[in-house]
Symmetry: C2
Subunit: 336 residues, 2 copies
Amino acid sequence: MKTLRPTSFDVAERAGVSQSTVSRALRSSPGVNAETRARVAQAAAELGYVVDRHASSLRLKSSETIALVTICRPGEDRSAINPFYFALLGSIAAATSARGFNLLVSFQESEANFRADFVRSGLADAMIVIGTTSNRAAWDYFAAAQASGHDFTCWGSPGGDFHWMRSDNEVGGRLAADHLVATGRRRLAFVGPQRSPQRQFDERRDGFTAALAAHGLAPVLAEPPPAEDRHAQGIAAARALLAAHPDIEGIFAASDMLALGVLQGIKDMGRSVPGDVALIGFDGIRAGTLADPALTTIEPDLDAAGEALVAMALEDDAHARDGTRIPVRLAVRGTA
Amino acid sequence: MKTLRPTSFDVAERAGVSQSTVSRALRSSPGVNAETRARVAQAAAELGYVVDRHASSLRLKSSETIALVTICRPGEDRSAINPFYFALLGSIAAATSARGFNLLVSFQESEANFRADFVRSGLADAMIVIGTTSNRAAWDYFAAAQASGHDFTCWGSPGGDFHWMRSDNEVGGRLAADHLVATGRRRLAFVGPQRSPQRQFDERRDGFTAALAAHGLAPVLAEPPPAEDRHAQGIAAARALLAAHPDIEGIFAASDMLALGVLQGIKDMGRSVPGDVALIGFDGIRAGTLADPALTTIEPDLDAAGEALVAMALEDDAHARDGTRIPVRLAVRGTA
DNA sequence: CTGAAAGCGCTTACAG
DNA sequence: CTGAAAGCGCTTACAG
């Protein structure tokens, strides 16, 4: 029942001008008589005319869209994706939309749906890759894709020689250390992957350790045991940590999902938070504010992250070069 | 530094065939010699050739993409979007990708970025609209858009005469009631909007009420007071409810975000969960599993929801007609 | 300031 | 089974 979509020729006929004039008027090209322009706009509105983006993009060789791929864990249920990536997706969408661009999203997890040709097929002008760094096959695929000319920008430098953007992790680690020390905690621990291929967790740990060293302190470093997901890892890590070091007074967890598990683990061990043990996470995910008590965390400026990723992918911002850092802040809530 | 993207003419030259043959071979049209097809595929691979989607879509008049718009609260931070919608977005992405379609996403909140012309501009073959029902201006805009011929399918029937798909809310309400009664609770309450323009919350309440009536019981109906978001509403609602009805033994909240607030509110009143008060939510969001205790909830089958929304939007499933219900199940966790 | 025409890179009906 | 050619709906250099 769909009526044939009107073309610029239909608008031209109705406005009594040529098709070229319709195109110029609608793109607000300079040098179109104001009255003509109004007549065209009028006719277009009456017909419900909208420019065909395929014809337009084909001609202009630009689609004004960004492709965003989110790497998932293999077999992972979509609702189990780390909420941090959904929040990042939202901020990328905002930055994209602010430029009048469209956003194409793709969740990828295995050979069955790996894809990196969004730019080459003309579908997008640039590609951004975010998501879990634990999917080795996915990152190998994207490393190979880059080698064969598919360019992209990613979040968090998951190994490889990628263009990346990430939080100011070191400063975040320092903020966590300083806050814990300022509130009187001395026996501290860092819970996070110690041998991750990516640098993010290392940076958080190093910033934490360096700031503590300035106070003559050294944290216990706890590697979370393998488990179903970050949350489960956090629970197990906290239990083991408190069993081995009953005197721990403060914990800095490498991410909020891990921290939420640690929170549960601390409670499981019969300790109170923040009374017995203070806790600080990293990411600023919404679920942290819903925890009991609400999670104190290091929060990256997500709006800045979305904008910087898009700018860098589009290469239209000389300042958004490799290694730019997204500012973070300490969000003091209930756990520390 | 980007080399000119190769076209089908380049592939044709390299394979020693005509451009039309390249197109046929790559689209696996019938009636192409196997050996020719292999030679073309070979040449395409060597050149890193990928079909230009704009040229292809222009010709085929189909883009094989779905547009998904998510309505946000005005002024809402992207990370504050109800996680249920992110999960739904993920399942829609999965259903879309399973068909080899692309997904274009757009978060909209105010006049500044309302847009409904994805199909008319050729960018997408169909449009799905999800998100908060509390943004009146947005739904007025989409009602007007529909009136002027922009068709779409939405989640939850937010008023208007839309094509919609929603959970089997009544059954969900019944499951909650039966579980609460089966575990010995008699003094029960429903916490949720009573005068919402949309029917979803009413259906959950009605199912709950009807099932209780069969046991000769009637719930207290508590309208959450206005507050910043659903979570804050839940906290306030639980406090007021328990102050007015100290003998309440079980609560069914209209959504998980509300339930998470109710959980906090119950604790604030010095009651234990589920010891003193049992609690059941609705939606099955991830944050519920992170609560302490983990939230018992009514969980819609999101995979089915994504698939049904896409099928209905594409009108390629005779069974996915208006009014189809997505099955729900009771997920028993810690709060009831 | 406006119009006629070429061309973006495909797909497919029409010949052979 | 394969090729030459038309045409999808735009944008813009070229004339006027």
